[in-house]
Symmetry: C2
Subunit: 212 residues, 2 copies
DNA sequence: ACGTGTGAACCGATTCACAGCA
DNA sequence: TGCTGTGAATCGGTTCACACGT
């Protein structure tokens, strides 16, 4: 019953993390029990969708009643794997990389930038937001030593492929890529892209198309 | 034949913008004619998908030959609407907002940050990357005057809903939201979310699940 | 009656298989 | 033969409709 079932939609994981935010908010408001409708009220997600998503992992609610906010929060954290701290490497400390270094939202989800790399001698050795910037030449040594599996990549488009190849050699298994190129990497490496220009372009298209 | 057909998948717009990048790259390499396979070689997209995507808008290739790189580039720009410059408002000039101000990738797609807003008196009147930072109190006046329809929102989670309500009143129709809250807005406003913490959390989940 | 949990129906999007043209 | 263009088949995911427990 509490076993993990076979095929789980890609989008389910993303939604689970939104449910988590909602539950945290309810918890702060001292709500002890909430229905699926309560939890999805401020997300653009239906209550059926929440119940379906949870059903892939088990039964967490009480029929006729709802969900215990604290318990469900814990269960979703366990499912997502963020019940323990995950260390992340940040590569490329330009403007965007610096913004990521300072982003407070990661901590809330037990995500911790454990090390930052750049190739600009002027930046090496400096500490920003409590994280020391290391030279990229030391990447293999440090990532292995800290057993880091996830990296955020905020380097230039020109060097993104080269750096990501290196990351894979270091044992990195997942990359959140902010550079505007598609990384070609082995099939067992999971890459997620954050592409602001493309995102904006889609908005332009929708705007043109939906209201003209 | 060149008419726009009825139902076009959501994802098609996003992919069109990736094809555009690929075509630009091919153009720089002086390639005049390219097959669908050439264009998708470095994107994780099949050549059939490209042809299907284009088929929603018309016939742009020559059978047995391929596509004229320059012409297709122009056609896709017309479809996306980025054949003309779009002005964008940036609201919230913290670390992330500053990074967005300096991001060069927008210009390539004819996207131009035309004005920036903040509420910190220390920042008002300063010019960064050639863009003057205005006080948020002047938002309605300036956005109306410049006829801006698209905004990027990089304010704190606490103020995101309030500021986006204001943006809608100013006549903004699309918002690219970087703050970690779901904005509740009228149905005719298109919102796209960039949520790094949630994105990373999905990576953790995939990592845990795929390789454990 | 209320709200969860879930098989079945449905829907949108991708992939297949092949017709059409150079 | 090579590559485009597209209806049809298929696939994955969401929504429906309702059984079930409190």
């Amino acid at each position: 019953m509490n076993e993990v079932k076979k095929y789980i939609p890609q989008e389910t994981a993303r939604r689970l993390s939104l449910y988590l935010r909602s539950l945290r908010r309810l918890g702060q408001e001292k709500v002890a029990v909430a229905s699926s409708a309560d939890i999805t009220r401020f997300l653009n997600i239906s209550s059926v969708q929440l119940r379906k998503d949870l059903s892939y992992f088990g039964e967490f609610g009480r029929r006729g009643v709802g969900y215990d906010v604290d318990i469900l929060k814990g269960e979703i954290e366990k499912i997502l794997g963020t019940d323990v701290v995950w260390k992340i490497a940040l590569v490329g400390i330009g403007r965007l990389g610096s913004a990521l270094l300072g982003y407070k939202g990661f901590r809330e989800f037990n995500l911790q930038i454990a090390v930052a790399f750049d190739n600009d001698p002027a930046k090496i050795g400096k500490t920003r937001e409590g994280i020391k910037i290391e030279h990229i030449a030391r990447i293999r040594e440090i990532i292995a030593q800290k057993a880091i599996k996830i990296a955020m990549l905020s380097v230039s488009a020109a060097s993104a492929q080269r750096v990501s190849d290196e990351l894979v050699k270091c044992g990195i298994k997942s990359i959140l890529n902010f550079s505007p190129v598609n990384l070609v990497l082995p099939a067992d490496i999971y890459v997620s892209n954050v592409d602001m220009a493309s995102e904006l372009e889609s908005l332009v298209y929708k705007l043109k198309r939906g209201f003209s």
